[in-house]
Point group: C2
Chain length 146, copies 2
């Protein structure tokens, strides 16, 4: 359901991008984490196993991966900074835990009816939507209950 390291590297190769140790490490960091990560967080993780890497490389790789649709950016959750997650193919939305940051994807949003009505009433040609639910995941709720 989610892209894995192999698929991402394969896509990069197909598109003529080179597979460098840095890119490999960045891809591994993103795919190996269930939460949204900021560029700085990704940099921190990658640096553990690849100390010489530059933050600039992280930014450039994220831009490349996002451009290929292999990862995606989100902007919700209070801070305006751009977050990144690995991405399931196609249209999807996020369910975000406000405590631990875990992100669960879901695809069936059933907004077609609302979209049609808004398009008619407001005379918009609607091209897309952003839907995110925020709440507390089971683990955090139980942890808080203790």
């Amino acid at each position: 359901m989610l892209y894995n390291v192999r698929q991402i590297e394969s896509t990069l190769r197909q598109r003529g991008y080179k597979i460098t140790p840095q890119r490999r490490a960045i891809v591994r960091a993103i795919t190996g984490c269930r939460e949204h990560l900021t560029p700085a967080e990704i940099y921190g993780r990658v640096r553990r196993e690849h100390p010489g890497i530059g933050l600039v490389t992280v930014y450039r790789t994220l831009e490349t991966l996002a451009g290929l649709g292999l990862i995606c950016e989100t902007h919700a959750g209070g801070s305006c900074r751009s977050y990144l997650v690995r991405r399931p193919a196609g249209h999807h939305h996020h369910l975000i835990c406000s405590d631990c940051g875990t992100v669960i994807d879901f695809t069936d949003c059933d907004l077609a009816g609302l979209e049609r009505r808004l398009a008619r009433e407001k005379r918009f040609r609607i091209s897309g939507h952003l839907l995110e639910f925020v709440g507390q995941c089971r683990t955090c709720r139980e942890a808080a209950g203790i």
Copy 2:
């Protein structure tokens, strides 16, 4: 439905904030515009009639107004920068024109069913959601058609 200058100033006064010419100008700029405005845009507009004002004052006033719930921030629309609009009281969503930036508010989102299902399936306690539609408004569509 939307807060006007008088209501905002009244709220500020009630909460012990002073009504200065700068704050008045900022409030007027925000309420007098149907689009989302960045802090820099607000600064630009306010400066026309109040040249001496500082960008810092704009930021501080926006923070105050947002804290009182009189305006709200949004983060959608490509650029991650925080946009601000005057806000209708209560729960609402945005319909944003990707060309001119016009924002139309709507309130009935009918997501209760989806929210219940997600809460059950993913075991989340859902506390809120963010829903934004992006498209082309009538004016821009017609302008593009020419």
